[in-house]
């Protein structure tokens, strides 16, 4: 067992960090130890100080910010302060969340060379070390590529290669898959697992979506909203004891645990502990048939749709220069419909949403909104009827206070002040931000910003809401709240078009799914039908949601059982 080894790699004692002008510490009294060869999963709701903690372990903080660090961090028994600048980075590497802002050179080769040069590697060894690192992450063919031409997944693999080339003993991963599509993030986790096994690395992984990480980590460390340690121990203990508490804190549960929790409540899961993997899940169920019955019942009945078409796209194409970003796409959105658009990174989803919002004009083809071409709408009329929510909530926010943010578009319409007041109050109540009215939008938490950005698009009672990956990088609680808002919107007869990678959302909310690949529409239909189209799923880097996978397995089992009886 790891805990039997007495030589610790990293040891934190009473670690507390506070930003300069703030009373409240980001995290407080953190004590934990990382042993050689161990992998820890660090969990917590967004804004609880996970990233800050990671930066403190790597000595990036408190130097990079104005802040105060109390307590001690030691590496192999030596205090971090005793290391010369840059020295600790050889031992502790880190991969950041944002693929865009972690490089400083233009080509793949130069970026790798940069780190190796910093470590004073003899120049004649650098070449083969670069090749070796690139081979590890399958990026060797891209050695001379320009970094900005790589996809998000490739950039994260490059970031990993850069760190690995320095041969660190500890690797910190700060939400490395937050910006990736399901298939790319799965690939990244498998690469990390292989490297961990080959090199006996110690890992500290910060993640929201846990499924791919459970099998490669040994234990988990959970922070609560206040930045204190809630739990430190094995996964099994963690999820068995705290599953519901974690859910309340807004931490995503692994899908198996979630399914286990659900079936346990229904009395058809009798395993002693909540399942951490697929095998345990199957083993714990009373019988495949009863489980199937239960899970099938859970499925939402399709909502009765009105016939009225609210938006229709006809033969949409969009080119930039010779590059065809979208090729002849047609579909319709009905009143009260929830349409999801999915596809791999860079397949043209965001471009399509911008076209639908009238932000870009199509190179050819036409969009009809309420039977009128989008181009013939007056700008302010259109904005009152059609809302658009950006992927990054900060992009949406342009006023100085939360109240002004909501009132912004109403003021433009020259609405009387008392009416504005009324609408602002109801909207703020709806998104649970009533007590934050005077705050600056950017000082809100991640989840609050998300709600505010959506709220700004609710005030005009827009009949169609377009959302560009609104649940990306959000914790479970925020995502839940957001989806509740969307359901309300649908109930009131509006339509929602949402770009998403989240297969669980497709599964439980979407009436219709449109799948894009390389700018072409390769699927349009119900989610249930989509899960059967294996070719399309693979092409678009999608993954079947866990419940569906489980149901498939159960069906196969029950068939086998029946065969065995006869």
């Amino acid at each position: 067992m790891a805990s039997l080894r007495n030589q610790s790699l990293i040891k934190c004692e009473h670690l507390t960090f506070r930003h300069e002008d703030e009373q409240k510490p980001v995290f407080k009294s953190i004590d934990f130890t990382l042993y050689p060869g161990e992998a820890i999963l660090l969990l917590g709701p967004s804004g609880c100080g996970k990233s800050t903690l990671a930066f403190c372990l790597n000595k990036l903080y408190p130097e990079a910010v104005d802040g105060e660090l109390e307590g001690t961090v030691s590496y192999k028994g030596k205090m971090l302060e005793e290391f010369r600048p840059g020295e600790i980075n050889k031992h502790i590497g880190i991969v950041f969340q944002d693929p865009e802002s972690q490089f400083c050179m233009t080509t793949v080769e130069d970026e790798l060379a940069f780190g190796l040069e910093n470590m004073k590697t003899p120049p004649e060894e650098i070449g083969c070390k670069i090749d070796e690192a690139l081979k590890l992450v399958h990026l060797l063919p891209f050695k001379h590529a320009l970094i900005h031409t790589l996809s998000g997944g490739q950039k994260q693999k490059l970031a990993l290669a850069c760190v690995l080339s320095l041969k660190p003993e500890i690797l910190i991963l700060d939400e490395p898959t937050a910006n990736l599509d399901p298939a790319s993030s799965h690939e990244l986790t498998r690469i990390i697992k292989r490297i961990k096994d080959e090199r006996a690395l110690s890992l500290l992984i910060i993640e929201h979506k846990l499924d791919d990480w459970i099998d490669l980590t040994d234990r988990c460390l959970v922070l609560n909203r206040e930045g204190e340690i809630l739990f430190n121990g094995s996964h099994a203990d963690c999820f068995n004891t705290y599953a519901e508490e974690l859910q309340a804190e807004g931490i995503w549960l692994p899908n198996t645990v979630k399914a286990g929790l659900l079936t346990k409540k229904a009395g058809i899961f009798t395993g002693k502990e909540l399942p951490l993997n697929h095998e345990e899940m199957i083993a714990g169920l009373i019988s495949p048939d009863s489980a199937l019955q239960f899970l099938d019942n859970k499925k939402n009945t399709p909502t009765c749709l009105e016939k009225q078409t609210i938006l229709s796209a006809k033969d949409l194409s969009f080119n930039i220069g010779p590059k065809e970003l979208l090729k002849s796409i047609s579909f319709t959105v009905k009143k009260g419909e929830f349409v999801a658009i999915s596809g791999s990174n860079g397949s043209g989803k965001t471009t399509l949403s911008r076209l639908l919002a009238g932000l870009f004009s199509p190179s050819s083809g036409e969009i009809l909104y309420h039977d009128r071409p989008l181009s013939s709408w007056k700008e302010h009329e259109l904005r009152n009827k059609l809302g658009y929510v950006f992927q990054n909530p900060e992009h949406q926010l342009i006023a100085d206070t939360v109240t002004d943010e909501i009132a912004f578009s109403l003021k433009i319409q020259h609405m009387p002040d008392n009416e504005i007041q009324k609408i602002v109050q109801t909207t703020l109540k709806q998104v649970n931000l009533l007590h934050h009215g005077d705050m600056h939008p950017f000082s809100l938490s991640q989840g609050q910003k998300r709600r505010l950005s959506v709220a700004s698009m609710l005030v005009n009672e827009q009949e169609l809401l377009l959302l560009d990956e609104p649940t990306f990088g959000q914790d479970a609680k925020t995502a839940r709240e957001l989806m509740a808002l969307m359901e309300e919107k649908i109930q009131s007869g509006s339509s929602v078009v949402m770009i998403t990678h989240d297969m669980e959302i497709l599964h439980s909310y979407a009436d219709k799914v449109i799948v894009l690949s390389d700018g072409e529409k390769i699927y349009e239909g119900t989610p249930a039908e989509l899960w059967k189209e294996q070719e399309i799923m693979k092409l678009a880097s999608l993954k079947v949601p866990y419940i569906e996978k489980l149901k498939d397995e159960l069906r196969a089992m029950s068939r086998r059982e029946k065969l065995a009886f006869t």
Binding site: F55, N58, L60, A64, P85, G86, E87, N89, K90, G93, I94, F96, D98, E100, S101, Q102, F103, C104, M105, T106, D110, A113, F114, G115, L116, E117, N118, M119, K120, T121, P122, P123, I126, G127, I147, H148, C162, V163, L166, R354, A357, L359, E379, H380, R383, N384, G387, Y388, F390, E394, H395, Q396, I398, F408, S409, I412, Q413, F442, S456, M457
Partner: protein
């Protein structure tokens, strides 16, 4: 041999010295000859297409024409100058025509030298060379390199902010004061975004062990070889030869505060 292979620092030095020499003389022939040779070198040894070159060069032609025009129209005429043409108060003398041409061609020759450098040098190699040959502090050089990567991102960010405003129903700015107000509204989020990105990149650099230490071993060694000095010598000689030819035909004049 290609101009791309010349050491960037020496290339920059060559351009600077040529410009300095050229600015000593003030006659049309010296810069014209320099311009011709430099442009030819850019095409032949720089493998730069004429189309690309002229695209960058043409704004300067326009500028040179304006210079020539204003130097012709508004020049001081001195006693004893040969009058070529006069119309009302406008008098064109041979001397003022020569001055005007000298000025215009001077601008163009400087441009051609700069283009020779810009079109045949990779920014990253120039920075590496500045660090290795001219002892530019790595902190500054890598900072510039990281900033260089931001430019396209800034453009993207600008587009997004503009869309965000449109989405919220902000009417299009039409008059000048509206446009200025719009720019102000964009500036704050744009700068805030840039600062956040810069901070993140700085952390990423530090996490890779970058300390700004001047004792670096470089993977890409940018060396100085005799051919670089040959290049330097050739260009200096070329400019001096131009001046000599100009002198030989009696055009050469030293710059003496004309205009």
């Amino acid at each position: 041999m290609l101009l791309h292979d010349i050491n960037p620092s020496i290339k920059a030095l060559t351009v600077i010295v040529c410009v300095l020499i050229l600015s000593v003389f003030f006659d049309p022939v010296t810069p014209m000859l320099t311009l011709a040779v430099t442009a030819a070198a850019t095409f032949i040894f720089g493998k730069v297409s004429f189309k690309r070159w002229i695209l960058l060069f043409s704004p300067f032609i326009f500028m040179a024409l304006i210079y020539i025009w204003s130097a012709l129209i508004f020049s001081r005429t001195h006693e004893g100058e040969t009058i070529l043409w006069s119309w009302g108060i406008l008098i064109l003398t041979e001397e003022s025509l020569q001055r005007a041409l000298s000025l215009g061609l001077r601008v163009l020759s400087f441009t051609s030298l700069s283009l020779l450098f810009i079109l045949t040098t990779k920014p990253s190699e120039f920075l590496l060379s500045l660090m290795q040959q001219c002892r530019l502090p790595p902190k500054l050089a890598y900072g510039i390199m990281a900033g260089y990567r931001f430019l396209p991102l800034m453009k993207e960010e600008f587009e997004i902010i503009r869309s965000a405003h449109r989405i919220r129903g902000v009417p299009k700015a039409r008059s000048l004061p509206e446009k200025i107000a719009e720019l102000k509204r964009y500036a704050v989020p744009l700068l805030a975004g840039a600062i956040r990105k810069a901070e993140r990149t700085a952390m990423a650099m530090e996490s890779k062990g970058f300390t700004g230490d001047k004792n670096r071993n470089y993977y890409h060694k940018i060396a100085v070889s005799p051919k670089d000095w040959l290049f330097f010598a050739f260009f200096i000689a070329m400019v001096l030869a131009s001046a000599y030819i100009s002198w030989f035909f009696g055009f050469l004049q030293l710059y003496n505060g004309e205009l």
